[in-house]
């Protein structure tokens, strides 16, 4: 319960910061906001994400994620072409079974999916990110609250375009409900609904603090404690950076592989599994 309290407080604070930022940014807007918010036609995307958590000591692990994100284009409907490749790395610290934190960097390769564009095809984007994950068991269900804060430097595809700096404020709530077992264990299917709100701030963010709202449901299968596969469908919407009155939408098919190898010697890992319970 205490964790829940803390989390709620965090979220509230974030909201307050974000809304004040967005209010101040609006005043200098150059784009003309439409009278009514406009929702663009949803895009379809396919994501292939790998999540690696490699244990390096009793409490530390190396987060290594590679995501391949494809986006539909005129010529490649539905599955689309490569839009982004993520390389996300961090060092995580397991504080307890119920709480861990991570800090690291991201190199994202952005591909230009605009077929008409004559600009650069590939630009890098840099991020520093830190994440606070709270996990709570609730009967046979696990609940998670994830707060992730990203500091990102991105640029457009145009030649000599400047890096712009933004902060992202992300909160995600997720459940994992085992389907064929009383708990999450090997050979278990689970369903995982999740909702994530991504807010952003920065000089360039004038009227579009809500970058993305993602609603996802995935179906997962735990092969072993070290390997899980999952697939799901995500709906998302969010304001365009340039014009807060315009909302992007997308439908994303997501395919995930979670792996967590542990290369430590047996004698080192045996007693520490249970942390401090």
């Amino acid at each position: 319960m205490r964790h829940y309290g803390k989390n709620t407080a965090w979220v509230l604070i974030l909201f307050l910061i974000c809304s004040s930022l967005s209010l101040s940014a609006q005043e200098e807007g150059q784009e003309v906001l439409p009278l009514e918010s406009k929702f663009k036609e949803p895009l379809t995307k396919v994501w292939f994400n790998t999540y690696g958590n490699i244990r390096i000591s009793k409490r530390l692990f190396w987060v290594a994620q590679t995501h391949f994100r494809l986006q539909e284009t005129e010529s490649t409907p539905f599955v689309g072409q490569m839009a982004q490749i993520y390389n996300r790395h961090a060092i995580g610290y397991i504080y307890s079974k119920k709480f861990n934190v991570s800090l690291g960097g991201v190199l994202r390769l952005n591909f230009n999916t605009n077929e008409a564009s004559m600009d650069r095809n590939l630009v890098p984007e840099w991020r520093i990110w830190h994440q606070y994950l709270f996990a709570m068991p609730l009967s046979s269900v696990m609940t998670y609250h994830r707060i992730r804060i990203e500091h990102r430097w991105s640029q457009g595809f145009a030649e000599n375009s400047e890096y712009i700096f933004r902060n992202r404020w992300r909160y995600m709530f997720r459940l994992k409900v085992p389907l064929n077992s009383h708990k999450l264990e090997p050979k278990t299917f689970y369903v995982s609904p999740e909702a994530e709100l991504i807010m952003q701030s920065g000089k360039e963010v004038v009227a579009s603090p809500m970058e993305d709202l993602r609603l996802t449901t995935t179906l997962g299968y735990i092969v072993t404690p070290r390997l899980t596969f999952a697939a799901g469908l995500m709906y998302s919407q969010g304001q365009e950076l340039s014009n807060g009155g315009i909302y992007k939408q997308s439908w994303t098919l997501r395919f995930h592989m979670y792996f967590s190898p542990d290369f430590r010697k047996v004698k080192n890992k045996l007693p520490e599994i249970h942390f401090n319970d």
Binding site: Y51, N53, R55, F61, G92, I94, K97, K98, N100, L133, A135, P137, M142, Y144, K176, K183, L184, E185, P186, I222, T224, P225, R226, T228, Y258, S260, D262, L270, I273, H274, F275
Partner: protein, 655 residues
């Protein structure tokens, strides 16, 4: 000046010391006095006496007094009081002595008369008075036992008056108790003489008279059922005679000497009983005096009896008789008391016959011989003519080598005879010790051979009984096995069930093989084997039936908790999969295959041990470093190799 004075003073002190101490020391060696607690035999009380020390010995000398009485005990329950008073001279009781023993109860009521508290007592009091000379009674002695009621004499229970001279009874004596009075007289040398008569309180005439002549008994006259009966004791003047005490032994000698027909019960009840009572009282006093000093306080009434000393050969024969007697008594008692034989004789005619022979030997041989041994111990044999003795022991004549017993349990009807094969070697003729020895030998040899015969029979019988017990055990085991297989079979897997059925088949086959056997000895041996076999099969059934449960246990044990960072939970992960796979895919099928195809009573044990050892080893391997083993197991499909890698055989051997 000063020196002279000191010297003078010293010399005078020495003189003074000498004068004072020497007489004291002399007197000390003469007489010392003791006053305090003392225990004499069973008597504990307060004593006061004079004594002197000569060398290392303490010699009583002078007046002696010892007494005890406890008023408290008397008032509470009862009191045993006593008083011994007299004089010692050089450790011999000498002079006038008095003994008092009281067993009193009180009615716990007291009276004050003049200046004294008085308590009335009831009970018995013994009063003994007389004179001793160098530890021997000398002069008149009276021993009185009175019954006291409320401190007044109620009845004289016993009274004896005997005059002694230097320990030897003299002139006439008188001994009486509640029922009768015995009077008689002695010669100066203490020998019984003339008529000794016993009067019963209500009768005027003497009921029993013993006529002595110079110590020799010539005639006993007694009244039985108002009829006077006279027993003449034949006296052969040529016979050697010996003076002995008139005591229980003498009575026994008389009984042996008298012809069988002349049995007077006087020997058990009349005069001898009174004399024995008197002797018992005298012994009480002798015990006390002997404990204190030197004394021979016994009423030594002397008599003369015919004497037939035992020669060296007879003594040797008696030793041999005793040995044979002890052996044959042991055998006969063990046989007669054997519960097994007592049961067997009900169904087995031969056993009954032998049992009856043992009983006959016991009655006709051993019991009379026991008396001979007993007489020898009492020292009686030398006073009895051998022919008289033998007639007394075997009134109907000595038994023969042919021991005849009835065939039936009640001894009526036809008879059967037992005789030792070497019977002709034995000769029971003649009224000599030698013939008694022959009888004793024959009894021993006969019993020996019977014991041998019966032991064979009993062993056989015992085997039969054991076989029955074994069969019962077999049936119980067979039932137990079948029940177990049925109960397990319904729940286990098909493969396990097949193995269990095979076990059942082997058990059934062995049992039918057993029941087809006819010869008892081989049947017995096979039954024993089968009991072992069934035990093994039972163990195997259990081992097979626990396989599923063991597999679950193994699976549980081969789990490791692993932290899954994505779910933030600890998940169990199967570890050392190659080991569990080898167990499941190689070893267990091998065991079951063995049970189904190669199983026999001889190897069931081995299989059980292997299965148990494998399970134990599986539990151990979880904690051991097994990376090498796991590598080796990779492609190993040979169960024997796997067991070797697991090190199971060695573990089984160690157990």
């Amino acid at each position: 000046m000063i020196g002279f004075k000191t010297k003078y003073l010293f010399i005078s002190s020495v003189f003074l010391a000498l004068f004072v101490c020497i007489p004291l020391a002399l007197q000390g060696q003469e007489k010392l006095h003791y006053a305090g607690p003392l225990q004499v035999g069973k008597y504990k009380g307060e004593a006061g006496y004079d004594y002197k020390v000569v060398g290392k010995d303490t010699l009583l000398d002078g007046p002696f007094l010892m007494e005890r009485s406890n008023l408290q005990a008397l008032l509470e329950n009862e009191d045993s009081s006593f008083l011994f008073s007299g004089t010692f001279k050089d450790h011999y009781p000498n002079g006038s002595w008095r003994f008092q023993f009281g067993e009193f109860q009180s009615n716990s009521q007291t009276q004050v008369i003049d200046y004294q508290y008085r308590v009335l007592v009831s009970g018995t009091q013994e009063e003994v008075n007389g004179t001793l000379k160098e530890g021997k009674p000398d002069g008149a002695w009276t021993y009185t036992v009175n019954r006291i009621k409320d401190s007044e004499l109620e009845q004289v229970l016993f009274k004896s008056n005997i005059v002694f001279e230097n320990g030897i009874p003299q002139r006439s004596f008188r001994i009486e108790n509640e029922s009768g009075t015995l009077v008689g007289r002695f010669l100066r040398n203490g020998l019984a003489h003339d008529e000794w008569s016993l009067y019963i309180t209500d009768e005027v005439e003497a009921v029993e008279s013993w006529f002595f002549n110079d110590g020799g008994l010539e005639k006993v006259q007694g009244k039985e059922n108002d009829e006077t009966k006279v027993v003449q004791i034949s006296v052969n003047r040529e016979e050697q005679r010996k003076t002995i005490n008139l005591d229980a032994r003498y009575i026994n000698i008389l009984q042996l000497q008298l012809p069988v027909s002349d049995t007077l019960n006087v020997f058990e009840t009349g005069m001898p009983k009174l004399l024995a009572e008197n002797a018992q009282y005298y012994k009480k006093i002798d015990d006390i005096l002997s404990e204190l000093g030197e004394s021979a306080f016994l009423p030594e009434f002397k008599v003369k009896v015919a004497h037939f000393p035992l020669n060296a050969m007879e003594k040797a024969q008696l030793d041999s008789i005793r040995v044979h007697f002890e052996k044959s008594r042991t055998i006969s008692e063990s046989l007669l008391n054997s519960t097994q034989l007592n049961i067997l004789k009900l169904s087995d005619e031969e056993a009954l016959f032998l049992y009856s022979v043992v009983r006959a030997i016991s009655e006709n041989f051993i019991n009379p011989i026991e008396k001979v041994v007993d007489y020898q111990e009492q020292g009686i044999l030398e006073f009895v003519r051998r022919d008289q003795l033998i007639r007394k022991l075997w009134p109907k004549g000595k038994p023969s080598v042919k021991i005849e017993v009835g065939k039936e349990a009640d001894s009526v009807g036809s008879t059967r005879t037992f005789v030792l094969p070497n019977a002709e070697r034995f000769n029971f003729d003649g009224n000599t010790m030698s013939s008694v020895e022959q009888l004793a030998q024959y009894a021993t040899f006969g019993l020996d051979s019977i014991q041998h015969l019966l032991n064979n029979k009993l062993t056989k019988e015992q085997r039969q009984q054991e076989l029955i017990a074994l069969e019962e055990e077999l049936i119980a085991q067979s039932n137990g096995l079948n029940n177990l297989i049925d109960s397990v079979g319904s729940t286990t897997t098909q493969v396990n069930k097949d193995a269990l059925m095979q076990i059942k088949a082997i058990a059934d086959k062995s049992l039918s093989r057993y029941s087809a056997m006819e010869e008892v000895t081989s049947k017995f041996d096979y039954a024993r084997e089968l009991v072992d076999c069934y035990t093994q099969l039972m163990a195997l059934t259990k081992a097979v039936s626990v396989l599923p449960a063991q597999w679950e246990e193994i699976q549980e044990r081969y789990q490791d908790g692993v932290w899954n960072p994505f779910t933030a939970t600890v998940m169990n992960e199967e570890v050392k999969k190659r080991i569990t796979a080898s167990y499941r895919k190689v070893l267990v099928p091998y065991f079951l295959e063995w049970a189904q195809s190669d199983l026999s009573c001889d190897n069931a044990d081995e299989l059980v041990l292997l299965m148990q050892g494998t399970y134990r080893r599986m539990m151990e391997l979880r904690e051991e470093e097994t990376s090498k083993l796991e590598r080796k197991l990779r492609k190993e499909q040979d169960p024997k190799m796997v067991m070797q890698l697991f090190n199971i055989q060695n573990q089984v051997k160690e157990k």
